[in-house]
């Protein structure tokens, strides 16, 4: 089960702006889902490998060969705002790009 605080943290991580009633409703929904999960947790899966992919395909590659890019206009058209060839967004102060 999760707390109301957990719900707010999840909303922050997903960049969702929840009102208090929305948060409370989601809290209830999430706990009902998690309750079901808890029941599933009781099943013995010690002899079952975790499944991350459903189709069983492996080793799907492409060769290192160039294909034409999209025209820049196509990208800029989809962006809320742009400046010259750049996509423009509200300033990001934290310089915490991961790479």
């Amino acid at each position: 089960m999760i707390s109301n605080e957990d719900v707010k943290k999840l909303a922050l991580l997903a960049r969702l702006n929840l009102s208090e009633p929305e948060a409370q409703r989601l809290h209830k929904d999430l706990n009902s889902i998690l309750g079901y999960m808890e029941r599933l947790q009781k099943v013995d899966v010690s002899k079952v490998d975790p499944m991350s992919h459903v189709h069983g395909a492996t080793n799907v590659f492409r060769e290192d060969e160039l294909k034409p890019s999209l025209p820049v206009e196509a990208a800029l058209e989809l962006a809320p705002d742009h400046s010259g060839r750049f996509i423009r967004v509200p300033i990001v102060i934290d310089q915490g790009g991961e790479n």
């Binding site: 992919h53 799907v60 290192d64 160039l66 294909k67 400046s83 967004v89 990001v92 991961e98 790479n99």
Partner: protein, 495 residues
């Protein structure tokens, strides 16, 4: 400015305490594949903003990533070069965080299942070898670039770099000083360049690193609290940032304060590190296996085929130069800094068969001239073949070392072959004994009085005759032979 020895005395309750630095590096190496890791857009550096984009780069709904085969091959090759175990079953994972240069809202990376694990790298350090443990190497995609514009209070996004293939190489906390950290990075750069997996160009961001650093009292096993310095993009900055951070942490510890675990940025203008965000607030990445990318199953035969195609590594080639060619360890090190150097050297050697002369003409004359001209070996006006021919002419005493310098200058200026220059200038060294003897006899005939004195016992005149012979041959006679022939002809006359 920070003057930071990695060890320093500290007096606490009358006990002198010494600290040592514990450093681990996470290095991102940008691969030099033609296309991005999961799509077919170009990785060209310096293109117009947003020139190399496509639906996968933009994270458009419905687009699917497909792994570039070359990226996997390069990752395995680097892993083998760094003595790693190659994981047989690989999955990619999504690492979630919100940042405008990451359009999907997650970075495709590897998490619990990196392609390479448990390796080590031998790093030459002050004439000895330090073995640095490698925790892991994994494949991931790069993010785009942001330009912050405070004037309009906006950030400008260029996604050309988004999706370019990276390998992240993580060391064990085995490094003990800023100099060791820099030596490790240089060795890593040398290896990726030898393998041809990356250009290792730090100015263009192809090699950048994050450093974890903590201090602990010497003799203590447990690590101290560490800080992480992000995004160091030159060898010099790595050293300076670590020196500053060591000094900062030491002064905190000396005054009885504790270190806060946090992420720092290094400001190259001030030479100082500053706090970026504390680790406690650090994001929750919510890793999970990426369902868009099927798992990789790596066969033994595939690993073997990569191993067979791998070029010989600098460590091994350096050993061959010392053991096989009789070069000094120093020469071997200079020649193996770049694969280009050693390949060039071997071409020169093939022609001339004299390793020591080939090495000295390559490393002092050619490198010197290239350096002055601001050129690299790739653009050398003197080809390996021509340098080999020149060394051969010197080795066979067809020309003297002094003449060779003149010939070399002309080779460098014109790109001509040495034989051509020697013939055109009539520079050929006089080495035939009979020819030299003829010149000596004619010099004797023209200096009858001095000759009589010399034969009579005035040995000081020997130098005079050598000088006269060299003068009359315009310096083309082999001086050692001139010397010997004069001595033997005088001896005959003295009977």
């Amino acid at each position: 400015m920070a003057q930071a020895p990695s060890r320093n005395g500290k007096s606490l309750n009358g006990v002198v305490m010494e600290f040592e630095a514990v450093i681990g590096l996470e290095t991102h190496v940008q691969l030099c594949t033609k296309t991005k890791i999961f799509c077919s857009s170009s990785t060209e550096f310096g293109a117009e903003p947003n020139q190399h984009i496509d639906p996968v780069t933009l994270g458009l709904p419905g687009s699917l990533p497909v792994l570039n085969r070359q990226v996997l091959e390069n990752a395995i090759m680097l892993g083998l070069a760094m003595n790693c175990e190659i994981r047989r079953y690989n999955r990619f994972a999504r690492k979630h965080y919100f940042y405008p240069d990451l359009p999907k809202g997650y970075q495709i990376s590897q998490y619990e299942e990196p392609i390479c694990e448990r390796g080590h790298l031998n790093v030459p350090m002050d004439g000895a070898i330090r073995t640095i443990g490698i925790t892991r190497i994994h494949m991931e995609e790069d993010a785009g670039k942001n330009i912050h514009d405070s004037r309009t209070h906006s950030s400008l996004i260029d996604l050309n770099r988004a999706g370019v293939a990276l390998l992240e190489i993580v060391t064990q906390p085995d490094l003990r000083s800023p100099a060791e950290a820099s030596a490790y990075l240089r060795t890593l750069r040398q290896i990726v360049r030898f393998l041809g997996v990356s250009d290792g160009n730090m100015e263009e961001g192809s090699l950048r690193c994050d450093a974890n650093i903590s201090l602990r009292p010497v003799g203590q096993v447990k690590f101290g609290t560490r800080t992480e310095i992000k995004n160091l993009n030159s060898f010099k900055f790595v050293e300076r940032a670590l020196e500053y951070e060591i000094a900062r942490q030491m002064s905190l510890l000396k005054s009885g304060k504790s270190i806060v675990q946090e992420t720092m940025l290094f400001d190259s203008a001030t030479g100082a590190t500053r706090s970026l965000r504390s680790k406690e607030e650090s994001a929750d990445y919510r890793y999970f296996p990426d369902p868009d990318l099927p798992p990789l199953v790596i066969e033994e035969a595939y690993i073997r085929s990569i191993q067979e195609r791998m070029p010989t590594l600098p460590e091994q080639r350096s050993k061959e130069l010392v053991d096989g060619y009789g070069l000094t360890a120093y020469d071997a090190q200079v020649l193996t800094v770049e694969r280009m150097n050693i390949d060039f050297f071997e071409e020169v050697f093939k022609v001339c068969q004299n390793a020591k002369l080939a090495c000295s003409w390559l490393t002092s004359e050619l490198f010197g001239a290239l350096n002055t001209a601001g050129l690299d070996l790739k653009r050398s006006p003197v080809s390996a073949r021509n340098l080999g021919e020149l060394v051969k002419l010197i080795d066979s005493e067809a020309i003297s070392g002094k003449m060779a310098k003149t010939v070399f200058e002309e080779m460098f200026a014109t790109g001509k072959a040495p034989g051509e220059i020697v013939a055109a200038r009539g520079l050929k060294q006089l080495t035939n004994d009979d020819d030299i003897a003829k010149v000596v006899e004619s010099v004797f005939a023209n200096n009858a009085k001095q000759l009589a004195d010399y034969v009579g016992g005035n040995d000081r005149l020997h130098a005079f005759f050598v000088g006269q012979v060299m003068k009359s041959t315009q310096g083309t006679a082999n001086p050692k032979k001139v010397n010997d022939i004069i001595l033997s002809l005088i001896k005959k006359r003295r009977g």
